[in-house]
């Protein structure tokens, strides 16, 4: 029996009202991602990459179509239900890191574990901080870390909950080449070691090339 796909999106579309009529942002998107798969989505600015990421993660509601995480449809859930489902299976890495400025590195990694009600959150957070090489910086606040260090904390935060699926939105976009390469390496290592499925949105063809699958989003439609 084939395992349930981690992510299954069917006939996904998103339209928004605009002064000149209805504007179609995404049209008839089909995606399936199995455990350990990695998918790069590239496309020019304004092609709808971030909108698609929002729909796949249940952060936005599609105009038509369905997204399922581990077979559970987002459409059947209210906002809290979607948050819980997301918390159970997904993690995120953002271009702008989005660490909580008031929490130190350890507390930031600990945060999703605590939200999910995980046991031994502190120890696990500390372990993941060690994994990304920042064990010695656990008491530092985001403002005291470099961009590369912040993104490594964000990676530790993302993997600490041992997600089935990781959404990475331009994870190296704010970093210089050296730091970008380091973070990318770490991202793919962790992805491989833990069998986490990865959806990577990027402009960078080199980064996209690390993924097993690659789709380009053009005017709201996916080209393989």
């Amino acid at each position: 029996m084939a395992s349930t796909p981690v992510l299954d999106a069917r006939q996904l579309s998103k339209t928004v009202p605009a002064p000149e009529g209805t504007l179609t942002l995404l049209d008839d998107i089909h995606l399936t991602l199995n455990p350990g798969d990695s998918l790069a989505i590239t496309g020019p600015s304004g092609s709808g990459k971030s909108t698609l990421l929002g729909l796949l993660a249940g952060l936005d509601v599609p105009s038509a179509g369905e997204v399922r995480l581990r077979g559970e449809p987002f459409s059947a859930l209210d906002e809290d239900g979607r948050a819980a489902l997301r918390g159970r299976y997904c993690s995120f890495v953002f271009q702008a890191f989005h660490l909580v400025a008031d929490l130190n590195a350890l507390e930031n990694v600990q945060l999703p574990l605590e939200i999910a009600g995980a046991a031994r959150a502190r120890e696990r957070a500390r372990h993941w901080l060690e994994r990304v090489g920042l064990g010695h910086r656990e008491r530092h606040f985001p403002a005291q870390l470099s961009g590369g260090e912040q993104q490594r904390v964000a990676l530790a935060r993302a993997f600490a909950v041992e997600p089935d699926l990781l959404f990475a939105d331009e994870p190296t976009g704010s970093l210089d080449r050296a730091n970008g390469d380091q973070v990318a390496q770490l991202l793919f290592d962790l992805n491989r070691d833990h069998g986490t499925a990865l959806v990577l949105v990027t402009h960078d063809p080199a980064l996209a090339a690390h993924c097993a699958h690659h789709h380009e989003l053009v005017e709201g439609r996916l080209n393989a």
């Binding site: 971030s50 990421l53 929002g54 993660a57 952060l59 936005d60 906002e79 809290d80 948050a83 819980a84 997301r86 918390g87 159970r88 997904c90 995120f92 953002f94 702008a96 989005h98 909580v100 400025a101 008031d102 929490l103 507390e107 945060l111 999703p112 605590e114 939200i115 999910a116 606040f141 985001p142 403002a143």
Partner: protein
């Protein structure tokens, strides 16, 4: 001229609207207090001038000389002579105090006369014409004299044409023992009363409004004869009257607090406004705009857009001022000079410059890359300096408004200490809370971290809220206390008649009469006239001082007969400051504290008085503070019962009779023709009116303070808004449910507002004593008003708990 649409654009921002509203409130408060103070001072100058009969009085035993009169030119003036004489009718002799006036009298105000005893008084602008006299009702009663009959004054028969009810220059001198006779100055020579050796005082009363007073006084001073002296409206002490003094102090205190609170609101809102403007500044920089151009566009446009609210505040104050004038209803209203309006217009600009400018100014100096790159800005040490710099604004406003810092020095020192010291004091508890919170459940920990990890944002905000809440509770308590104090001082049934010359044999019957007429009587006091002659067996002049100072209270007390009384209980309007109240044994005396200080008396001193029936001796057992404004009989020396036995005495009392029962007073006079009945209704009305006005002004100030406090809260909430929204979005992305978000938000507000309320209680407690001393000459008791902050805090918490969580797409919010 900038495009008007550009000036409207800032109004879309909540932070800008809060700034505008805060400046409007500050502008309104400053203008209201300055105009109110100016108006009151002006009116009091007029009232004082009216009470003493002129702006300046040249007084002496000889009339003013021709050269002196020539110096005055055509300045309005009035000459009067005052002396005492005896009126005789049949077998009755009555000593009257004569005031002979010329046609210029009264210089200010109006006389009140009536056509019959206890008739309705009418106002007149002139004294009696030649050949006529006006007599006080008590003199008519004692002489059994009717209007329209002649009476002999010295060698001259004069027609008694009116009952003299009230003189505008009567002032507080309603204790005058002898009834008044007013006559025309031109008739005085023909009476033959004045001759060598007669005790007479000649006064030349002069009108010298505003700054002319000094000029006239300076011109006259070199011409003064040995027997002459100058008295001015500024020397008179009416301004020190309790409620007015308290209101002025309270007004200054309140307006500075309003300025500080509004400044706090502007400071917090300016931070948000700065963040809103940051992108624009960065783009302008990127495209090569100079700092000057950026500042001109950002600050210039901001200030221009704020102008309407500044003008509106000033306009509202001007409107309130006009209404106040109409309400006070006097023709002689104060016209604020142009520079006052200019200062009032500049004051809110100074506040904006002090509190908002440094935060907006910083935009021009931040690298564009930091702003555009959304690089988190490390806490800048300049933020602390901004806060200290902002404190200079209220100081400047105080200087602009009062002309000096001397009046407000202590207040400003306190304010600066609180505004700088409070954040520093709060820093310790915040650090402790951060440590203690490590084991707290996630919602509480997240809420705490939002506050404890941003001390440079949290501490000024917390301090502003602590100040706002404590000022609100203190302002309400002080306002209520002032009102209660003033009402206690002059209750509605305060005595409106005083009775002198009531003798032992009539006392019981008099008491019966008052009982039958439901009159309220605070007490009966036996009065003995006596002069203080020895202190500790030393002749009094040697004992007191070698230096002559006619203004000294003690010297004045030594130069005349004093009213001495005895009582077994301390009157309500008196308070023992030192020693004790007199006991049951004869020979003890309690002395009014200020007179005691002036005479150098202390507890244990032995005093000798010379009365009509010989000397009497007593030991000082206590010093009393006397509320002279209580409208109750008050005495410098109060003896233990029995001390005055053997001296000839009369009784003094006061009573309250409702105005609708004054028609029964002729019956009282007929039954007790020898008493002197003093009607103080007019003075009482005046004082009660003043207190009523002061109460309303205090209430208006409290409302402004409340508005300023609420603005600080709103600004504080707004200041944290953007960060709060981003944090909520991130938590939502990480899988947090609504319940967690709501808990974090409510707990954060609970920690912030609840903490602020608790610290406000401490500040309230700490301020009770200094405020009590400053405003009430004593302690301010702890009251339930201290809990008032919770009335504001709990609804805000409920609002936060019920506030619908935003349904915006979390990613979109994270992107902003």
């Amino acid at each position: 001229m900038p495009d008007p649409r550009l000036l409207l654009r800032p109004w879309r921002s909540g932070a800008f609207r809060i700034q505008a509203l805060a400046l409007l409130v500050a502008s309104l408060a400053i203008a209201a207090v300055v105009l109110l103070r100016g108006e009151l001072e002006h009116r009091f100058a007029n009232r004082t001038a009216e009470a003493i009969g002129g702006d300046l009085i040249l007084e002496g035993s000889q009339p003013a000389s021709e050269p002196q009169i020539a110096l005055l030119g055509d300045r309005p003036r009035s000459a009067i002579s005052r002396f005492t004489t005896v009126l005789v009718r049949d077998d009755t002799f009555v000593l009257v105090s004569v005031k002979a006036v010329d046609d210029g009298y009264p210089l200010f105000g109006q006389l009140r006369v009536s056509e019959r005893r206890f008739g309705d008084p009418v106002a007149v602008d002139r004294g009696p014409p030649a050949g006529e006299v006006w007599l006080a009702g008590t003199a008519l009663d004692r002489l059994d004299q009717n209007l329209g009959e002649f009476i002999t004054v010295g060698d001259r028969a004069l027609l008694v044409s009116k009952v003299l009810v009230r003189e505008p220059d009567q002032g507080a001198g309603f204790y005058s023992m002898n009834p008044r006779l007013m006559m025309n100055l031109a008739d005085v020579p023909s009476t033959g009363i004045l001759g060598p050796g007669t005790r007479v005082r000649h006064e030349l009363r002069i009108a010298a409004p505003g700054d002319q007073l000094t000029e006239v006084a300076e011109a006259l001073r070199p011409t003064l004869a040995v027997n002459q002296e100058i008295d001015t409206r500024e020397d008179a002490g009416l301004r020190s009257m309790g409620p007015l003094r308290q209101l002025t102090l309270w007004g200054q205190l309140a307006v500075m607090m309003v300025v500080l609170l509004c400044g706090g609101a502007v400071y917090l809102a300016a931070g948000v406004r700065g963040a809103e403007q940051a992108g624009r500044c960065a783009v302008m920089k990127t495209f090569g705009a100079s700092r000057r151009r950026i500042l001109g566009q950002v600050l210039g446009r901001e200030l221009l857009a704020l102008l309407p609210s500044l003008l509106l505040g000033l306009g509202l104050a001007a409107l309130a001022f006009t209404l106040l004038r109409r309400w006070l209803g006097e023709a002689l209203a104060w016209q604020p000079p142009w520079h006052t309006w200019l200062l009032l217009g500049l004051a809110p600009v100074v506040i904006w410059a002090g509190f908002a400018l440094p935060r907006l100014w910083r935009l021009a100096h931040l690298p564009a890359r930091d702003i555009l790159g959304d690089r988190p800005q490390a806490p800048s040490a300049r933020a602390g300096l901004n806060l200290i710099g902002a404190l200079a604004a209220p100081v400047l406003v105080a200087m602009m408004l009062s002309g000096s810092l001397s009046d407000l020095g202590q207040l400003l020192a306190l304010m600066v200490a609180v505004a700088v010291g409070l954040p520093l004091l709060l820093w310790g508890p915040l650090r402790l809370a951060d440590r203690a919170g490590q084991r707290w459940p996630l919602p509480a920990r997240l809420a705490l971290r939002r506050l404890s990890r941003r001390p440079l944002t949290t501490l000024p905000m917390l301090a502003a809220m602590v100040l706002a809440l404590s000022i609100m509770s203190l302002a309400t308590q002080v306002g209520q206390q002032l009102l209660a104090d003033w009402r206690d001082r002059l209750p509605e049934n305060a005595p409106n008649y005083f009775v002198l010359n009531l003798f032992d044999q009539d006392l019981d019957a008099f008491r019966d009469w008052l009982d039958r007429h439901d009159a309220r009587v605070p007490g009966y006091y036996p009065v003995v006239r006596g002069r203080l002659t020895r202190i500790n067996d030393e002749p009094v002049r040697e004992a007191v001082t070698k230096e002559e100072d006619d203004d000294d209270q003690g010297q004045r007390a030594l130069n005349r007969d004093l009213s001495l009384t005895e009582a077994d209980t301390l009157p309500d309007s008196n308070r023992t400051l030192e020693g004790r109240w007199v006991g049951d044994a004869a020979g003890e005396v309690s002395v009014e504290s200020e007179l005691a200080e002036s005479l150098g008396l202390t507890v244990g001193d032995s005093l000798t008085f010379t009365g009509q029936a010989g000397d009497l001796q007593a030991t000082v057992v206590g010093l009393r503070e006397v509320d002279w404004e209580s409208f109750e009989p008050n005495f410098y020396f109060m003896f233990s019962p029995g001390t005055l036995d053997g001296q000839s005495r009369y009784w003094l009392t006061s009573f309250y009779l409702p105005e609708n029962r004054t028609g029964e007073l002729p019956d009282l006079i007929r039954q007790f023709p020898q008493i002197t009945l003093l009607d103080v209704n007019a003075l009482l009305d005046q004082a009660q009116g003043l207190i009523d006005q002061a109460s309303r002004a205090a209430l208006a100030l409290a409302v402004l303070l409340l508005a300023a406090s609420v603005l600080v809260m709103a600004a504080a909430w707004l200041a944290g808004g953007q960060q709060r929204r981003r944090d909520e979005a991130l938590l939502r992305v990480l899988g947090a449910r609504n319940r967690l978000l709501r808990r974090v938000a409510v707990l954060e507000q609970l920690l912030l507002l609840g903490g602020a309320a608790l610290f406000a209680h401490l500040l309230h407690l700490a301020a009770l004593v200094p405020l009590g001393v400053k405003l009430f000459d004593g302690d301010l008791p702890l009251s339930a008003w201290i809990l008032l902050p919770w009335v504001v805090v709990l609804p805000l918490l409920a609002l936060e708990a019920l506030r619908p969580r935003s349904q915006d797409r979390p990613l979109a919010r994270l992107a902003h």
